[in-house]
């Protein structure tokens, strides 16, 4: 049939002119895993509006008692996961705290620098930097460092942010940068990161 032959020929031309590249399966899978892990760590939002105030105050008190000795708490806990605290906060071994401290400083530098860097045409460079830090984040999440009840949700949020930055496109990244910045702001990621980095900065001298 004439019409079918015409369609087949057009289809062949499209496939020839625009061959589909191989799917970056591992890269996509990393993004899927990061996003799902992030969601699992975040409790459902449906009950937050009614409980947020009470929970926030309780969290502030409980966490203040539990980890006040570390001097890390000046912001109320942003996630309700931390409400589940019912004893002294466990501390990771010193070597992991040192590794986390180094990681936090490097990540803070990236988050502070990435919007201007990416907007000035260095998106690929910024994405490569984020990929390195993403690997470190995952190592820390799977290490004893993640038993720290402040650090763990922060790492989880950072994992998602870094996965987004790592996926920045070299071409036209402005919309993506804006979305990432919104996410960072909504979850107060940078403020929490700075607090954690400052607190972790004392690991060297204190122990």
């Amino acid at each position: 049939m004439k019409e079918d032959r015409f369609g087949r020929q057009l289809g062949e031309m499209v496939r020839e002119f625009d061959p589909v590249p191989e799917a970056p399966a591992d890269e996509i899978w990393s993004g899927v895993v990061a996003a799902r892990r992030h969601r699992r760590r975040k409790p459902a939002r449906w009950w937050r509006p009614t409980l947020t105030w009470g929970v926030g105050m309780a969290a502030t008190l409980v966490i203040g008692i539990a980890i006040g000795r570390t001097g890390m708490l000046t912001l109320p806990a942003p996630e309700v996961d931390t409400v589940l605290v019912d004893g002294p906060a466990p501390e990771p071994p010193r070597e992991f705290r040192l590794a986390a401290a180094d990681y936090l400083v490097r990540t803070e530098m990236l988050l502070a620098a990435f919007p201007s860097g990416a907007r000035q045409g260095r998106a690929a460079e910024v994405a490569a930097w984020a990929r390195q830090l993403l690997l470190d984040t995952r190592l820390l999440l799977d290490s004893p460092a993640a038993i720290d009840r402040d650090l763990s949700p922060l790492l989880s949020d950072l994992e998602l942010v870094l996965a987004q930055i790592a996926s920045l496109r070299a071409r036209d990244p402005a919309g993506e940068i804006e979305m990432i910045e919104d996410g960072i702001e909504q979850n107060r990621v940078l403020a929490r990161l700075r607090l954690a980095a400052n607190a972790a900065g004392g690991v060297n001298g204190d122990d």
Partner: protein, 181 residues
């Protein structure tokens, strides 16, 4: 392992099964996403990622009435079309008109005539025709698969394909000599 057994394992929280499920379907999902993303590999990657995030979230809702690939491809179509609408809106809002015009003109001039005309003609098709053309003629789906994926009778798929081809034939009339008619 059958598809059903694999899904049950995924629903049971088996991480290895999740990856196997993903590996079985990622190439075809990516192909479709790439075609619907105007051949932009970065968008295709983002759409594919979103498809699997949604698929894992909603897998428990899958009742097995259609094939799992059909279910995944309908998520792909939905994610890609919504994503492209946002991308187009954003580009319209953000890009300076002169810059876009200049870039468009440059691309057209540098590409061989037939190739650029074919791309332009496909982009110009209404979405409902373009979808069926891309799925049937380019990616080799059957009308039954298209009907199940897009939630319409196979007759509608055939009719839309016919209209898509007619529009493309008219758009590309000057190249009619390059294919058998």
């Amino acid at each position: 392992m059958t598809e059903r057994q694999l899904i049950d394992r995924v629903l049971g929280g088996d991480r290895v099964a999740e990856r196997e499920f993903y590996d079985r379907h990622v190439d075809r999902v990516y192909r479709l996403a790439y075609r619907l993303a105007d051949s932009d590999p970065d968008l295709a990657r983002d759409f594919t990622q979103d498809v699997f995030i949604r698929a894992f979230d909603r897998l428990s809702d899958f009742r097995g009435e259609a094939r799992i690939s059909t279910w995944l491809h309908s998520i792909t179509v939905s994610v890609a079309l919504n994503g492209m609408r946002k991308v187009r809106r954003w580009r319209m809002r953000e890009a300076e008109l002169t810059e876009v015009t200049a870039r468009g003109a440059a691309v057209t001039q540098s590409e061989p005539g037939m190739r650029s005309r074919l791309r332009a003609a496909i982009r110009k098709l209404p979405e409902k025709y373009r979808l069926v053309f891309v799925m049937y003629d380019v990616e080799g789906y059957t009308h039954e698969e298209i009907g199940a994926t897009l939630g319409m009778p196979t007759g509608t798929s055939k009719a839309r394909l016919s209209r898509a081809r007619a529009r493309l034939r008219a758009e590309l009339a000057e190249y009619a000599g390059e294919w058998a008619s």
